[in-house]
Symmetry: C2
Subunit: 99 residues, 2 copies
């Protein structure tokens, strides 16, 4: 008997979409940047030397996938990683690369 179930196709499509989010270096750099402490959009843009709108667009993708959480403080929006889950996924990937 085989009681191991293959994930159904729908779920695998969702999973692919999730990994797509990790599959862009700008988004990865953002995630690593805010993994320890929250940062504002302009902080991130400055750190990565990229346009504010570019960062904002990518943060939206991260938000939509529940990978970050946001907090408003006055005019600024502070972003941080949503949970340690995300960190673990990144670490697993690193482990693979580093053999």
């Amino acid at each position: 008997m085989n009681d191991k179930q293959l994930p159904d196709i729908e779920l695998l499509f969702e999973l692919a979409d999730l990994f797509k989010v990790f599959g862009d270096s700008t988004r990865l750099r953002i995630m690593v940047l805010i993994s320890d402490s929250e940062l504002s959009v302009s902080d991130i843009a400055e750190a990565l030397k990229m346009e504010q709108s570019t960062i904002s667009h990518q943060l939206r993708v991260l938000r939509q996938n529940k990978l970050v959480r946001v907090r408003r403080d006055g005019k600024q929006m502070y972003y941080a990683l949503d949970d340690d889950h995300v960190k673990k996924i990144i670490e697993m990937g690193m482990d693979h690369i580093l053999e």
Copy 2:
């Protein structure tokens, strides 16, 4: 003092490339398919109801990223997941999706 080092940019580009590989549903389905037992190219093509050449192209991507290993047996090539690392990455992603 902060002895936690940020991964350098080069490494993050590599990491993004790795996640890109996971970010396609066809490749994910292949990986899940061969996670328990090795299968030939035509087995996979049949299971996914896709062209042989499509599968072959994607298997090459998986090979290049050292995510699968191959074994020739006569005319057939048998593919299997390279290590449990890969399974773990997929499982972590699943966990995130399933909240």
